[in-house]
């Protein structure tokens, strides 16, 4: 379990991460979203023990990460541009990791090499960016990490590869209860993968949600009453309204709650028109976050 509580980190007086707390449960996939400069990479580097927070605590399975090999050998971090030792082949990198990560599995390595069909005897820096990323995945997954931390991992991969990588990760999560923390600047890229999403903006965590809950609990409701009669105000009290808008005689509401409960409490008022519709994830986030929602719209669409 990853636990980050109230951490702060500033560079030369500029706050990169401000009072962020976050918990990722074992076996879940957490998507860390945010536009460029939101502080995602800094947060990931704090989590992998590269940076020391100015304030706050970071622990994985209850132990601090910084300068702690016991914890670090359970984690694998793939940087936004994967890094390999100069002039190393995939095979040599594999040997390198094997000597350092005690859980390294050669079997898994061979398996993954076969899946991605990578020439292990070729120097990695000669590969294209996309293949380098695949190599990084092969190596990362071969260390059988308990926690996999990925910084913008899907950039530069074609859709087929994306799918392959995603399904491999999901397999590991399902089989070994691997925990994944993945950063991205695009919600769509990760919405089918993550079960938890956090959105960062200007160093702060704006919102943290369980995606399944979110999808089933937020609805768009359209109601109208006979002859454009005014809406009984008590309607608005009976459900949790995130947003309301009047279009002619039709009232549009974004509400939270179980579908049946929402239906039940509105039908009581006998509207002429009553529709309850699902929302796209982007819409949910925008409505949930209110004003700042528009500021981060670009990462949602």
């Amino acid at each position: 379990m990853i636990k980050i509580s109230h951490i702060r980190k500033s560079f030369d007086g500029l706050e990169a991460v401000e009072n962020v707390s976050l918990t990722v449960n074992r076996g879940s996939i957490y998507g860390l979203l945010g536009s460029n400069g939101a502080g995602k990479t800094t947060l990931l580097k704090l989590l992998t023990g590269l940076y020391v927070p100015d304030e706050g605590l970071i622990s994985i399975d209850g132990q601090p990460v910084y300068e702690s090999p016991e914890v670090k050998e359970k984690i694998f971090f793939i940087q936004d541009t994967p890094y390999f030792l100069p002039h190393y082949t995939t095979k040599q990198m594999a040997q390198f990791y094997e000597s350092i990560y005690p859980r390294w599995s050669n079997e898994r390595f061979q398996e993954l090499v076969a899946i991605f069909q990578v020439d292990v005897h070729k120097k990695i820096h000669r590969f294209s960016k996309g293949i380098q990323r695949q190599v990084a995945f092969i190596l990362a997954l071969s260390t059988l990490p308990e926690v996999l931390i990925l910084d913008e991992p899907l950039d530069g991969l074609d859709p087929v590869m994306r799918k392959k990588v995603k399904s491999l990760m999901i397999d590991d999560v399902a089989e070994r209860e691997m925990t994944v923390l993945i950063s991205s600047h695009n919600l769509r890229e990760v919405e089918d993968l993550c079960d938890f999403v956090g959105i960062m903006h200007k160093g702060q965590m704006m919102i943290e949600k369980d995606l399944d809950d979110l999808k089933s609990d937020t609805h768009k409701v359209q109601i109208a009453f006979k002859g454009g009669a005014p809406i009984p105000p008590s309607i608005l009290d009976s459900v949790k309204v995130l947003h309301k808008e009047k279009r002619g005689s039709i009232l549009l509401l974004i509400v939270k709650g179980k579908e049946e409960e929402v239906t039940e409490s509105i039908v009581k008022y006998q509207p002429v028109i009553f529709d309850i519709l699902p929302l796209t994830l982007e819409e949910i986030f925008i409505y949930e976050m209110g004003d700042v929602g528009y500021a981060v719209e670009n990462i949602l669409g």
Binding site: K45, P69, E73, F77, T81, Y83, E98, S99, I100, P102
Partner: protein, 651 residues
Amino acid sequence: MQSKIFLVNKEIRKTIMRSIGWVAIVHFLGLIFAVPLEILMTTTGEQRQYIRAESLFYFHFEIQAVLNIGIPVILAVFLFRYLQVKPYSDFMHSLPIKRDRLFHQYALTGMILLILPVLLIAIIISALYIPLNLSEFITWADIFKWLGITIMFNLLVFLAGVFTGMISGISAVQGILTYIFLLLPMGLLVLLAYNLPFYLYGFADRYVMESKVESFSPLVALSQVDYRPLGAIEIIVYCLLIFILYGVSLWVYKNRRLEAVTQSLVFPLLKPIFKYGMTFCTMLLGGLYFGIMEGNTTWLIAGYVIGAILGYFVAEMVLQKSWRIIIHIKELIIYAGAMALLVILFQFDFTQFEKKVPNLSEVERIHLSENYFMYNDANDPFFLTSAENMDLIRRLHKEIVANKNQNKNRVNDSSDHAFFVYELKNGKKLVRDYMIDKKEYAHFYKLIHESEEYKRVTNGIFKVNEEQIEKISIHPYGPTQKKAVIVDPEDLKEAIAVLKDEINTATYEETIDNRDPHAFIEIMQKNDKTVGLEWRISYKKFEEWLDKKGLLEQAKVTAADISYAYIVDTNDLQINYAQGYSYEELFEQMSKIGRSIKVTDKNRLEESLLNASGFHDGPYMIGYYYKADGSIDIKSFSGEHIPDFVQQYFN
């Protein structure tokens, strides 16, 4: 679970070898070329007879020095690339390895790679030792000394490079800082030594400069190791530094923040130190260049201003990593204010440096002479310990300090140095050096120099054991082959007694008489040690004694040795003091000048010989033509020693 990572990780070692193995190979090839190959080439050919090796540093020392200075820094820079490249740094530090383990493995592998080539070369030389009969030039101990010293310098420079690597986040800055770091202690000392006399009256700059400043910079020390052997203290200090730098580097590394990679200096605290340190050093350098070269206060201040601004700009450029920098005028103004305050504090002598004259009760012994080398370079410098003399010296010192402004204003080419060294009872030393006009302090000097003690400690003759004397030879001053020798034991005793008496009764004025002595006396002892002294003009009793012994004719130049002489006004001569001049040409000139005296008269020649001085600074010059082989000698007359007939002729 037991961690799989031990101190030495095979794969990390491979990585290190792959990235810096080439440095060790270049080092090895360079050394092969510089030493064993050179030995092989020179000792097997005709050149063998010309080899003057005192150590293995004799062979291609320039190449050895370049390797010793360059290789360790290149190694440190390439070895710790992983600290200076951001993705590399993030990669290495996300591995489950503690920083101290990484450091130990990298630094120790680097050290082994430095030592190995040197060791291999030593083995190769040892293998050549017997076949090439190298014992003619060097001993086995020389090989070990070479090995030890080379390894020591390599490790020291390497660890300096490692240390700067830890505090800096750019490889180029790491390399440059390493050299600055290694030169700084000596550089700062030199700069301060040249600048301090402006602020601390009596600061003995030349003494400080001569006191082994080289050893304050390992770089300078190593580039001179072929002719300036290292002292035991230097070796101990350098070896200690190796350990200290290793420990400090590790500590700094553990506290290094990875986000500062690609910044010139990783620790924010170091930035102002670097900036103002650089400004201060270049300020002193500017002062040295403009102030001391030009020798006046205006240029000195201009030098300071130019130097400080330049240094500040360069430091900012390094820190901001661009030549288009933002200047903080405020910082410069604050700096200028601080410096002005410092100068003002010096004016008020806040350290009490200038006024400080030790109390008699604190002083063990005192050296007072005209030059630091009488103290520094002499095997056995003299000291005064009697209460009267020490008190006189203190009073002299106080008077010089009291007349500070007067002395400063009168400094000219003929000023004398008054060099004081007080050795205190607590083991400390107080050293001062002043430029004074000795004539103004003659009353002190007369008392000191005429004291029995001063004469005893400054004249070697008082240390001579009469039983040990082999012979005394007296060499006349001048281009003549004449020489008087005393060997009879009785005569030897008498001569020594007369000379001691002459020295003891000589007045201060007689001892500073600048007329050339009659002769130079060498007292040769059975232990091969020779004591020399001058037969001064004032030593009349010795002259009588020589006459009595029939040695006078051989002991000095007399009128009989001279055919004739020309005396001219110095202004009539064209003497090129800068480029040098030959006596023959000068004599030729003298013979052609109309307004000259040609002296042939015996008495006048004697009078001339007695009064002339070898310093060519008097108003009249005399050129002697020697009978024996036609050699020429040129001297001059000055002050009260101008013979009457010369004075009359030219007036």
